[in-house]
Symmetry: C2
């Protein structure tokens, strides 16, 4: 008999929870608040109560549940040891899987949230049907998740797929004289240009201002909206952005050589308009055998994390 899975995507504000079949069909999803006070000591008991409720309210028993996957905002090694999570007030730093299993009596596996999103998109989203995928999530920074032959590339230091921190300029003070530091403390990181924040940075440098925004504060959406209206300045900003992102993704392909590159995050709402430009730039820079690498938009949005966490129990 087919069994059920829970996936949890634990964020700093809420935890998103999904109940899925082994085949990846979603039965129910809901959210609970994340209580980060007292170094996060309420987090696991709150999640345990939510899972118990999810089981009983759906007329299930623990025997029906294959396992609970937990995506967390921090580095995870071996599907169990979670590093201290800055955004959860210092929660983590131990074998969370064992602790949670002791609490709920079900198998638990943990995973980094960006990696979970990649696994989710591979299972039921933009990467469905492929074995080798790169997910680039374009938001404040550039998150990455890499799947090789169906498995996450976690890395020796939990930093596999940290593609936003590739240095695409020759020196620490980059080619165009910027000295603004990346969140990682270094400079010249691709996410300073290839993210949502990066679109706005490029736009301001190229002459766009808050006056170009519908809401009085220039956003990446404003830039793409103006570009779609064929505003010349916005088009040149988007072209520049697509070139940065295309080169980044070509460089990722020269290492990981995926079947498909999936673009997610806020910027991906620009849709096929963005995808076509990025793919053209990618082809310009890609190692020739990789020029035909497919591009797709992420499909699961904020649900990708819990899908991917649940997927940890499916080979």
């Amino acid at each position: 008999m087919s069994k059920y899975l829970f996936g949890i995507d634990l964020g700093g504000t809420t935890a998103k929870i999904g109940l899925l079949s082994e085949e990846g069909r979603l039965f129910e999803k809901w959210e609970i608040p994340t209580r980060i006070e007292n170094f996060g000591r309420h987090i696991l008991p709150d999640l345990a109560a939510a899972i118990e409720k999810g089981i009983s309210e759906n007329g299930l028993t623990k025997e029906d549940i294959l396992g609970v996957g937990l995506a967390v905002p921090g580095a995870v090694t071996n599907e169990k040891d979670v590093a201290v999570c800055v955004n959860l007030n210092g929660w983590g730093g131990c074998d969370i899987a064992q602790e949670f299993t002791a609490m709920i009596g079900l198998p638990v596996k943990a995973v980094n949230d960006a990696n979970a999103a990649a696994l989710g998109e591979l299972w039921q989203g933009g990467g469905k049907g492929f074995r080798n995928m790169v997910l680039a999530t374009l938001g404040t920074g550039v998150g990455g998740g890499i799947i090789i032959d169906g498995k996450l590339l976690v890395g020796a230091h939990g930093s596999g797929g940290e593609i936003g921190h590739m240095k695409l300029y020759p020196s620490l003070s980059d080619a165009e004289g910027r000295t603004e530091l990346c969140g990682c403390g270094k400079s010249g990181c691709s996410e300073q240009f290839a993210s949502a924040t990066g679109v706005v940075r490029l736009a301001r440098e190229m002459g766009m201002t808050d006056a170009d925004s519908k809401f009085g504060f220039l956003s990446s959406k404003d830039v793409f909206d103006k570009a779609k209206e064929e505003n010349e300045l916005a088009l040149s900003v988007v072209a520049r952005f697509a070139d940065e992102l295309g080169r980044l993704l070509a460089n990722v392909s020269a290492v990981a050589d995926p079947d498909v590159i999936v673009i997610g995050g806020g910027v991906s709402k620009a849709g096929d308009f963005l995808l076509d430009l990025v793919q053209a730039a990618f082809r310009k820079y890609a190692f020739p055998p990789c020029e035909g690498t497919l591009f797709a938009l992420a499909e699961l949005g904020n649900d990708a994390g819990f899908y991917g966490a649940a997927k940890l129990f499916i080979d």
Copy 2:
């Protein structure tokens, strides 16, 4: 009872063959010429004869042999399908493993030669004892081989680990105005600067000439020899080269996050002198959690390929 393995590294001039134990101990190695005439139709029969001879001359029978690993100068998918090999006069383009098995009555697995070298160095060379490794082979270009959790990253188009073709400059005509194309047909590839050829290119640009060579034609060895003698110009060339290579490897780490980076190829003969400089540059550019990534020199030289080919039969 412990069994034996053959590893073959098929090159355009000779094939190197090794007889090894399952534990990676080398019993014998020898070479035979590669006859590439007639589209390489002699290649497999010649190799079959060499293996038969290797078995009988060592007092073995086919029952003692676990398998024959074959490293080839071309893309390989699924350990059997070999792409057409340009350097072997068009040989390949079919399931070489099946063809060779039919000829010698032993299990055969095929692998790309750069990937085989990485697998060899992981098994018995500079990466011994690790599960995640990047091999950067610095010769005419920059060859790469990437191992994730003990397995080769082959890639969807057989281009996994083609790190020499990362584009480290913002545009196709690179930041410093060079327009010389890479062998792949594009420009701005890291191997134009981070290879043995790249050392010489940088040296000439920075003012070194053939008069700085012991043999009348400037080589990367000349540059490193002069640098070790504390020649200022040579030292600045080497510093620049190390910076290029360090940034390349930091970018590779932001994708693959290995435990250890192994440096091989002709340039690696510069030894710890080079390694220390590259590691310092790497730390400058690396995503902080990866700064402690280990560095090592390749140890197997030209034997790495047959070691790695044999390793295909060991989990």
